[in-house]
Structures are given as C-alpha cells and as structure tokens.
C-alpha cells in the first residue's frame, strides 16, 4: 500500500496524522510541501487543495485529518 502524506512542519493536523500512522504502525512517505515546490504542485494537481494535510492512499485522496475516512481506506 502506497501512502503519501503531504504536510507542512508547523501544521498540528499533520502532526496528528503522523501520530495516527505511528500508533497503527503504518508506513508512509511524509512530503513537506513547504520546501518542495514540485510536491506542492503535485498535491494541488491530485487534490485541488491548497491546505494541508492531504493524504494519498493508493490514489484515493483524503483532505484534512479524518480518522474515520483513514481507517476505512486502510481496511481496503
């Protein structure tokens, strides 16, 4: 399962998402879009969002920290 977390270092919801992944022992790639312009464009292209966190679970996009949605997608 490929999981990308588009985040900024200062965002509390991103920290919460990281905590969720850590607690559930889920491997993911943390992409800091504040220092990576290409990744920021990629996030915008995928999600149409200019707000973090954006989570890409196998191509399915979750916007913001949404534990219910995350659990649902990770079960699949």
């Amino acid at each position: 399962m490929a999981i990308n977390l588009y985040s900024t270092p200062t965002c509390p919801w991103c920290a919460k998402t990281r905590e969720f992944f850590k607690k559930n022992k889920i491997k993911y790639k943390d992409i800091d879009v504040s220092s990576n312009k290409k990744a920021l464009q990629e996030m915008f292209k995928k999600s149409g969002q200019m707000g973090v966190p954006v989570i890409d679970v196998n191509g399915k996009i979750i916007v913001g920290y949404n534990e219910t949605e995350l659990k649902k997608l990770l079960k699949k």
Binding site: T8, P12, A15, S34, S35, M50
Partner: protein, 330 residues
C-alpha cells in the same frame, strides 16, 4: 457472576471528574483534579473541531503570554500540558468524542460516539470554540475553501511563499496570523470591517513596523474570485482607487463560535452568544456538579492562561462538591 462482572465494569468506568474536551484548559484542570485525588477522565480531541490534544493553542505559532516560558511554540506548550496531566496516575486521557451527557441519579452518564459509556460524579465542559467561517453571503467563500481560503495560517502559511495574501479580521489572532504570514509571503493585507484593528499593543507595534503588512480598515470582503484557486478579493469600497485586490490566499480570523451543544442539551444555561454562563469565582454552571472553563464560557478575556486558571478552579469546586455532598458512589 454476570452481575459481578457488570458491577466491576461499571466501577472501572466510574470517575469523580469527567472533562469534556482535551485542550489546554482541560489538561490543566485534569492535573489539578489529580492533585486533589479525583479519578479523572479527559475525553475528546476537543469535541467538534478535530484538533489534536492541546486544542486551539496547537494552532498558535508562538506563545509569549504564558508565564514560565518567555517564548515557545503552541505545539510545545500543549505537549508540556499533556505530559504534566499524564504524569498523575489518576488521569486518563481518551481520544473519544462525547455524543451525549445525561443526568444519572446523583451522577452523570457520558456516552461517546464509539458506543462507550462512562459515569461521572461531576462534569467539566472545556469544549472550547471553533472558527467562525465566512458567511455564505461572501461569494466564493465555500468554493475556494482550501483552494486559497484557509482558517489556519500556521498550517497553510508556508504554501504561500512569495505570494500576496489577505487576512480578514481585526483581532489579536488576525494580527498574529498576519505577522506569521509576513515571514513567508511578499505582502499581507489585513482587511477589517471595523474602524481600527485591535490586537494587543505589543502586536500592534510589530504590525506597524512590518513593511510587508498593509491595513485596510472599514472594509468588507464581498467576493472571493478565481479559477482553480483564489486570484482576487472584491471589496465593498475602493482601496487606493480599486475595488478588486489581487491576492492568492485569504486567511480568515473573524472570531470563534463556542462549542456548547452538549451542555445545552443537558440543560446548562447559555448566554445569547451560546457561551456557558458560569460563576466567575467558582466555574460552576446552573446545574450542581457541572462546571465550565476556558473559551466556551462567558468570561470575556479568553486566553490559555485564564482558561487554565478557571479549569483549576473548576477542579477545586468539583472536589468540594463531592466531599460536601458525600457522593461516594454513583
């Protein structure tokens, strides 16, 4: 046997003090309640806002008005408050959202969204507030949410490097957002509907000295325009001869709405703003055994430092209530 197990389960889920919300106020109240020997349960990642434990202070970039720390980040302060509360064995923090609170004999039955029940001798509402959103009358405010319209400068500010943004609002929070955004962006407009923005004097001075920040008072944003993301805002009166201002981001800081629905359903008295009315000396509400503290209350000065004080007062009042009324079990 079955009855014994049921009684045991009930005992495990029985607390002296149940705190609804897990922000700074809640954590401080938990710490103090534990010192008074109260078995305490903290429920919720601040109900209604989805914020992490620590609550709204986690969205503040730098905190400079909390004694003992000259300057630290909101996230760091929240972590310290959480660690402090957790250092007491009497405190349990659960990341569960409360769905209902009912009177249950001389105690209260608290149900959570994941179908768990807890019984508390006393209750503290430390549910805080959520951001007030731009009204629907501002065209484009919903359409461009997270597409340039943001309610968290700390989260999304770094995405606007080298761009021009607007902050809507005139409070200290708006000023702090503008100061933070000026670290990333080329220019920040503060657009405020009132006569003069009103941050704390220390932040007003910083704003005045900051060459990237421009204040537009007595003006409303009536429309947010763009294609895929924000490109401009339309003002209700011209600024420097133009009604349309080119910006790529709009950060909204127009106040907060108290999260008091659960309290209201229990019969707790609210004021016309939806804030919980409390005795300012004791943090008591109109219902015996029910307290409120922090941003959700009718106290006018809302800072973490004041919320923390009220939370500790509530813990002490709960302790007195339990001992005076000799509530041994529920």
């Amino acid at each position: 046997m079955k009855k014994k197990i049921k009684d045991l389960k009930q005992k495990i889920n029985q607390y002296d003090f149940i705190i609804i919300g897990a922000g700074g106020t809640a954590l401080a109240a938990a710490m103090y309640a534990a010192r008074l020997g109260l078995k305490t349960l903290v429920l919720g990642s601040t109900y209604g806002t989805e914020l992490p434990i620590g609550g709204v202070i986690t969205t503040t970039h730098i905190v400079e008005n909390y004694p003992g720390f000259i300057r630290l980040s909101g996230v760091e302060l929240a972590k310290k408050l959480e660690e402090h509360a957790k250092s007491y064995k009497e405190v349990t923090i659960k990341n569960e959202k409360v769905s209902e609170i009912k009177k249950n004999g001389n105690c209260f039955l608290v149900s959570t969204e994941n179908k768990r029940n807890y019984v508390g001798k006393t209750i503290l509402f430390a549910t805080g507030t959520k951001w007030r959103k731009l009204p629907d009358s501002v065209k484009g405010s919903r359409e461009f949410e997270n597409k340039g319209v943001s309610y968290c400068a700390l989260c999304d500010g770094p995405l606007f490097k080298g761009k021009v943004v607007a902050v809507i609002g005139g409070s200290d929070s708006a000023a702090k957002d503008a100061l933070l955004l000026s670290e990333y962006t080329k220019k920040v407009y503060i657009i405020y509907r009132g006569e003069q923005i009103h941050p704390e004097p220390i932040n007003m001075e910083r704003i005045k000295k900051n060459k990237k920040i421009e204040i537009i008072n007595n003006t409303n944003v009536i429309e947010i325009k763009g294609k895929n993301s924000v490109e401009s805002v339309v003002l209700d009166k011209p600024y420097k001869g133009k009604k349309e201002l080119k910006v790529q981001g709009v950060f909204v800081a127009i106040g907060h709405i108290p999260i008091s629905d659960l309290a209201k359903n229990l019969g707790v008295k609210l004021n016309e703003k939806g804030e919980i009315e409390i005795n300012h000396a004791t943090s008591e509400t109109n219902i015996p055994g029910v307290y409120a503290a922090g941003d959700v209350t009718d106290k006018p000065f809302k800072q973490l430092i004041t919320g923390v004080a009220d939370g500790c007062t509530a813990a002490y009042s709960a302790y007195q209530y339990i001992t005076k009324n000799k509530i041994l079990t529920c």
